[in-house]
Symmetry: C2
Subunit: 343 residues, 2 copies
C-alpha cells in the first residue's frame, strides 16, 4: 500500500523507510515515525544552536515528513497529534529554508486558511507562480521537494491547506467548493509584489488534481492547470480500497461509511463545470492507478474548450510516483512553458 517511490521523491530518506519496515514489531508504525520525527527535531535544534541553519532546516523538514507518515492512513485519535507535529516542524523549518517559506493566514467564512509562499532566490520578480494543491492524504508541507524544482526554474510557489486538509480540517471538513479557497489564496497572492498576477498556474496532485480542474474552471485568473493523478467524479467510489474509504470518512467527518459515500459522490464532482475550463491543462495518469484511467476520458469529453495535454503512462501507478523523477520533470517543464512563454 505504501508507495516508497512517492515517499522518497517527496524527501523521506530511504534509510527511514528501511528502519520503519524493520522496526521492532512491538512498536507501532505511528510511534516509530513519531520517534523519528522527534530525533530529527532534536538534530535540528542542535544544528540551529550551532549556527548550521541550512542543516537545521533540512532536519525540521525531515521531521515534518516523518510526522506526516506517522499519521498517514492512521485513524485513531493520535492522527491529530501527528498532523500537529507535522505542522509545527515545518513551521520551524520555514524561515530556514532557501528560499524561505513565508507563512500566511487568510480567513474564509470565519475559518483560517493557512499557507506558505516561496519566492525564487535568484532572478528578478515579479515571478510566474504555481499554486500547489494537496490531496486526500497530503497537505501543504509535503510539496517541499517539488517546490525546490519549481523555484530553481524561477517559478514562485504557494501552498495551503483547504477544507478537509491538515490545519484546516478541525475547522472545516471536506466540502465541494474547494475553488473558493483556491480563489481566496489567489486574491492574496496576486497582491504580493513578488508575484506576477498574470502568470499563475495551478497544480493539484491526486484529490488535488480534482480540485485543480475545479479551481481552473471556475477562476479565470489561472492561466494553466495540471491535474496530476486527478479525477472528475467519484462514480467509482465503491471500488476504492478500504483504507481510502476510511480516509474519505475521516476527512468528511462522517459518522458512517454510508454517509461518507453519499457526501463524497455528491461533492467531488466537477463534471457540470468542466465546460468552463478554458486554459491549457495537463492531465497525467498512470495505467496502473487505482483511480480509473477512464476519468481521463470524462475530462476529455467535457472540457471541450480547454487545450488538453494528456499523458498516460503505461507503467505508472497513482500519480506515477513509481516512475522516478521523469514524470515530475515533464509536468514542471510543461508548466514552465505555459507560465514563461518564449518569444
Amino acid at each position: 500500500m505504501l508507495n516508497w517511490g512517492r515517499l522518497i521523491l517527496d524527501g523521506v530518506p530511504y534509510a527511514d523507510l528501511v528502519s520503519a519496515r524493520d522496526r521492532d514489531p512491538s512498536v507501532t508504525w505511528f510511534d516509530h515515525w513519531m520517534e523519528t520525527a522527534a530525533n530529527y527535531e532534536r538534530l535540528g535544534e542542535q544544528a540551529q544552536a550551532a549556527g548550521h541553519t541550512i542543516t537545521a532546516g533540512e532536519y525540521f523538514v525531515l521531521g515534518s515528513l516523518a510526522a506526516q507518515y506517522a499519521q498517514f492512513l492512521w485513524f485513531d485519535d493520535r492522527r491529530r497529534v501527528g498532523q500537529e507535529r507535522k505542522v509545527e516542524l515545518y513551521r520551524r523549518a520555514a524561515p530556514l529554508l532557501n528560499p524561505q517559506a513565508e507563512r500566511f493566514e487568510l480567513t474564509v467564512d470565519g475559518a483560517t486558511v493557512p499557507g506558505y509562499v516561496r519566492v525564487p532566490a535568484s532572478g528578478s520578480g515579479p515571478y510566474p507562480t504555481a499554486v500547489l494543491l494537496g490531496g486526500l492524504e497530503s497537505t501543504k508541507e509535503e510539496s517541499y521537494q517539488f517546490e525546490q524544482q519549481l523555484l530553481a526554474r524561477g517559478i514562485a510557489t504557494v501552498t495551503f491547506d483547504g477544507p478537509g486538509q491538515g490545519e484546516m480540517f478541525p475547522e472545516v471538513p471536506l466540502r465541494g467548493d474547494y475553488e473558493r479557497y483556491t480563489s481566496a489564496v489567489v486574491d492574496y497572492a496576486e497582491k504580493l509584489p513578488e508575484i506576477d498576477a498574470s502568470r499563475i498556474g495551478v497544480v493539484g496532485r491526486s484529490l488535488g488534481g480534482h480540485y485543480a480542474l475545479r479551481s481552473a474552471a471556475l477562476d479565470q485568473r489561472f492561466v494553466a492547470c495540471i491535474s496530476w493523478g486527478g479525477f472528475a467524479d467519484m462514480d467509482s467510489y465503491d471500488d476504492e480500497t478500504p483504507m481510502t474509504k476510511e480516509s474519505w470518512k475521516y476527512v468528511t467527518a462522517s459518522s458512517t461509511h454510508e454517509e461518507a459515500r453519499e457526501r463524497v459522490m455528491r461533492l467531488m464532482d466537477v463534471r457540470s463545470e468542466l465546460h468552463k475550463l478554458r486554459v491549457p491543462t495537463y492531465i497525467q495518469h498512470g495505467m496502473h492507478d487505482e483511480v480509473p484511467v477512464s476519468e481521463v476520458d470524462v475530462v476529455k469529453q467535457l472540457a471541450v474548450d480547454a487545450p488538453l495535454t494528456i499523458v498516460i503512462e503505461p507503467h505508472g501507478d497513482h500519480c506515477c510516483h513509481n516512475l522516478g523523477p521523469r514524470p515530475r520533470f515533464e509536468m514542471i517543464d510543461w508548466l514552465e512553458e505555459q507560465l514563461k512563454p518564449r518569444a
Copy 2:
C-alpha cells in the same frame, strides 16, 4: 552487495534501482544500466532542445550515474565503455548545473588530471573550498549531490580523477603517491580568484578517505581533513571480498591477484606519514563496515599531532551509507566550522 542507501543518497532514483532489480533476467546488469543511461541522455537532449536547461542538466547527471553503475564492479572490456559514457554524460551536464561545473585539465608527469570546480551561486568570494576525493569504485562525477550540500552552505568544491580512477586510469593506474595529484590540484585551485587559498579542506570517501589522510599529512596547505570510511593501511587485504579484490586487481592493472595484493599492501599505507598530520581531522566509521574499525585505532595511535574528531556509528556500514543523510550533514557541518570559523 549493492548498497541502495549509497546509490540513492548519491542521486540514483529509487525507481531506477527497482527497475534494475526487476529487469528481464536475459538482460545483463551492464546492458540494463547502459540503456537507462541512453534514455536519460535522450531525455536530456530533448529538454535542452526545448530550452529546459535545468531539467536537461538533471537528466545528464542521472545518465552519468546510470553509466557509473553499469560498469560498477563489472570487470570485462565493457567497463571502459561505461566509464567513458559516465564521463561524457557528466561533461554534458556540467555547464547546465546550478552552479555550473567548470572543467579543468592539469598535467602531472605528462599525464592528464581532469577535474571540475564549482563555486557557490550566491554570497561573495573568495570562498572556502572542499577538495573531494573519490575512492576505489567512485570518481569525480559521483559527488554531485554532496557538492550541492556544500555549495548551499557557501563552500566551493573541487573534484578530480587521480591515479587508478575514472579518466586517469587508462594513463595511470593506482600509485602510492596520491598526495602529489591532490597537491597539483591545490596548486591550480589556489590561484583561482573565487577560491580562498587559506581555507581549503580535503574530504575523501572510502579509499579516498585514505588519500585524504595522506594528502593532508603531506601538504600543509589543507586546513581540515575528513576521512569518510577510510583507512591507514591494507593489512587486512586478505579479508576483503572477492569483488573488492577484483577491483584492486583492475585499478592496479595487475595481471594476477598475487601481484595486486603485493602492490596494494605496499602502496596503500600511510602509517609512516601520519605523524605529519597536524590539522583538525574528522574520522567517520561504521561498526558494520567491511573496512575494519581497528583502522580508526591505527590513525588514533599515529596521528598524535592532529586534533581528531572520531565518530563511530554503531549501526553504520561502509561510509555509513545505510544511515541516510544525517552522517553526511554532520561531516558537512564539521567542515563548515573548520573552514568558516565564527568570531
